[in-house]
């Protein structure tokens, strides 16, 4: 009984210093709160992904627009504008780097923008690499590949990272139809 009195006293004290904090126990509480979530186009979503340059090696397509890559680019045959070439594909048993689009004058094939709330580190993964080209993001300014074990430097909010794609075609046979590869681009809060 003595202890209980003391606790009540403590409770009152707390209530006094932090206004409106209850001093009592509760058996159960349930609170209903709303959550709303919406989708956005890649260029304006929390992980911002934008295409850079003409030539459609990188392109925002669909609704909501999602970044996609076609190598060589859909409009590759329009560049260089004076004397266009029309490559049919990447060579086999090779490593290619695409640091910009076919018709681009600035570097960067695409950009990752941090439109969220925390500084992040960025990298790419590819879940299935057997028999298909192996694709990895890299930082076009440093040339560093961005992998799970070696992600980008910390990208502060509202900043963007210029990226390219490295494509390894070792062991990938020549064929008429294109290879479809899913590249997963991940941004993880720095420190997590």
């Amino acid at each position: 009984m003595k202890r209980r009195t003391l606790m009540a006293g403590l409770g009152s004290l707390t209530a006094g210093s932090v206004l409106a904090v209850g001093s009592g126990a509760f058996t159960s509480v349930s609170a209903r709160r709303t959550v709303s979530v919406q989708t956005a186009a890649d260029y304006e979503s929390l992980l911002g992904l934008t295409q850079i340059g003409a030539g459609e090696r990188s392109e925002l397509d669909g609704t909501p627009s999602q970044l996609e890559f076609t190598l060589p680019g859909d409009d590759e045959d329009e560049y260089p504008s004076q004397d266009p070439t029309n490559p049919q594909g990447l060579g086999t048993d090779s490593v290619y780097r695409f640091g910009q689009d076919a018709g681009a004058e600035t570097s960067g094939l695409f950009a990752v923008e941090n439109l969220g709330t925390q500084p992040v580190q960025v990298y790419s993964t590819q879940s299935d690499t057997s028999g298909v080209p192996e694709v990895t993001m890299y930082n076009v300014e440093t040339g560093n590949l961005l992998t799970k074990n070696s992600p980008s430097a910390t990208l502060p909010t509202a900043n963007r990272l210029l990226c390219g794609l490295e494509v390894d075609t070792h062991g990938v046979p020549v064929r008429e139809t294109e290879y479809d590869v899913t590249l997963t681009i991940t941004a993880v809060a720095a420190g997590d």
Binding site: G24, V29, V35, A40, E44, P64
Partner: protein
Amino acid sequence: MERRKFIAGLGSLTAAGAAGIGTGAFTTVQANRSVSVSVADDTDALLALTPDPDDDGTNESENADYLSWNNGKLSINIDSAAGTTGSGVNANATTQINDLFKVVNQGTQAAVVYVDPDSISDSNLTWSGSGITIDPQASNRPNGDYTNTGSLAAGVEDDQISLTGGDKGPTWSGVGSDDDDSLEEYVLEPGESFDFGLYVSTDSTVDNTSSISETIEIVADATRVPDSYTGDGSGSGT
């Protein structure tokens, strides 16, 4: 007056049949007793939902930009209403936002804190839905011994668990060997807190205007703390 007499007669009859029941029957009694209830903002309530538990004006939660407030009640907005440059989640992606706010037990007993899976419609819940789906998460939890192992998705914290218990509630076998073991993962003792986060996934069926709005029910239930729970018990049992 006539009717009242009749009822009193009935009362006596019953009393005669079952000994020990008083014979002074009544139809209604009104006794006025006072109950005073103060209602506090989410940040200061018995079950506090707050990004700034120490009330110093600086958010301890890293992702409070996704919260909006209406008359002391918080909402989570992962859309254009959020305080972010981005106006929503990417399509075909999983977005995990940990530490939107802290859930703090400011009561005097330990409680099992979870989100009622039935409060989220099946079509919007990660475990059963499609399009945009969500599942509330708890991380930086003080109790239980569950740890994520194996290949963790990026950003998943070691002690992170589903607050809906994988749609099965806090007796989820995913985090414990039996019901009691699972329940312990969800315990908050007085003064303790965990980080509330949200796991959001989108598939290829979403379009430009896809959005969901859910009212999720956060429950803190002291009666579900298992007998086997052996926390330090501070402040409980009074």
